[in-house]
Symmetry: C2
Subunit: 333 residues, 2 copies
Amino acid sequence: MPLSTVLTLHATTDTTLPNTMGHLAHAAFLALLDAAAPEVAEAVHGKGENKPFAVSPLTVHREPCPVGREGDTRGASRTAGRGRSVHGSRFTVHDRAVALAAGQECRLRISFLDDALFRPFSEAILTLGQPTIRLGKAELLIARVTCVGSDEEPEARYETYEQLVNRLPCTVDRAPCTAYREPCDADAHSVHGSRSTVHEQLSFRFTSPTAFRVRMAGGERVNWPLPDPVRCVRSWVRRWNEFSGFPFEEDELCAKVEGGVGLARHDLRTRMLEFPRGRELGFVGEVDWHLTKHALADEPFLRQLHTLARFAFYCGTGIKTAMGMGTTVCRAP
Amino acid sequence: MPLSTVLTLHATTDTTLPNTMGHLAHAAFLALLDAAAPEVAEAVHGKGENKPFAVSPLTVHREPCPVGREGDTRGASRTAGRGRSVHGSRFTVHDRAVALAAGQECRLRISFLDDALFRPFSEAILTLGQPTIRLGKAELLIARVTCVGSDEEPEARYETYEQLVNRLPCTVDRAPCTAYREPCDADAHSVHGSRSTVHEQLSFRFTSPTAFRVRMAGGERVNWPLPDPVRCVRSWVRRWNEFSGFPFEEDELCAKVEGGVGLARHDLRTRMLEFPRGRELGFVGEVDWHLTKHALADEPFLRQLHTLARFAFYCGTGIKTAMGMGTTVCRAP
């Protein structure tokens, strides 16, 4: 089942993290997995585009750390002030190197799409005495792994694939959104109960650089850094079909998205990430999608769309979601 | 020939302009034209999508006005401070009502795609004694019409259609841009001479809300507020083909854009405009387009693309360019 865990980490020494550390987190995760179940780590490493996990960017808490040595947090805070966070009080590491003081607390979100992967991962955490992960030169002690969130850790949560599919009601009550022409101020969170209304809008926040790979004439492959509904949905449905056991018809779904989902309010900008093997351009920001009346009348479509929008929290969007790109939160479904 | 004129206007009394005044500027322009050549005004009014002129948003100068009564500019300045300008020192009227003091200077840019329209317009200005235009309740005296720009008025300029086509060299020197993965810092303005290099990027600034109308499944029409290269080029080439006398093959060109133009750095957000007949969503901001190696090897395509990108300054992009939407500036070609 889709499961999002948050690792609470403490730096063991004063150290600096490079500006883009998704590939390091990816490597650290595989090393941890390798310690418990080498064959699983090997299989995951060999997988192509649809990896059974996603890694979200490291966040560094700006408050003084409650455990470990009381570190000098000025370095991190100063960096945080310069960073361009879309996380509110936290600093998301896209843009600049981050200085960590010994004892400084960070968090890393890892989401799992496949139970066969979470089991050896949790075993590795439990069986290793003082488990640490290494992000480049930085050694970080795993102080806590949170699987079930609270108000304090809303990013740790899980749902079964069945729950994701069945979350929507069979009848669609039209919510009082005012169409694609202005932002939705309605209670977008009212749909978390067992019965709910289906809004005419879906609101997404892309908190780490997100892009799609597009093949151009002549074969050149470029990054497409915009939240086109069809490209987003295609990226989600492929992962959904790989892991859920409830496959959706990809092309039919994408045709319905093309004819029934428009763009409403957005606020988007590009960010460049530096990976060892080259740079990746992506976008961050927020976008509301608008569903046409025609789409709202198609309940099977609505059910699939809302299911995938919610699944995006676990699987991420677009390329390199196992290396910190494409972290996605949907507000509405 | 494409001709961009800037009208310098002085408010005759203390007044307030509504937040969206593109439709008022459109009506004022037609009224002026009607005074000189009613049959031309009638013909323009009946034209559909590809109007032979475009109206850019009114800009209000924040400095005290050098002519007319020295007005109290505090109202305008205060409003300007709250506005979200993409014009630098000027305030672009998208978001809020603007208070104008008597004597306050504003500017309105009107561009013409057809000589048959500019002639009666300039006659109207010359023959009317003290020509004024009325934007809603505001009466504004036309103090000056600038047709040939200077450093002070770079938005007033003209080029013939022949000049636009022939501006590019036949041979393409690859400029030192670093592909679609980072912004272009090269001298993008070096291409204004008779010989020039063709950059791998085209940089656009959309200074008033810009959108395309898209028909969805079921017939609903929605605004698409993103600078997709194909949608932009289709919008330009239709106007080009209507007025230039050098028609380009629209579908062939758009297929080449789809296969050869990607998106690079961008910074985009939506704005809502209130028109009397309803609201229009559009985007403002900046975007760089990246040309693939394959596209750069296709010189006829490059010539057409750069021609249209430059033409966009005159014709605008997308819907309602005759009512203040879609104001576009291309930095590179």
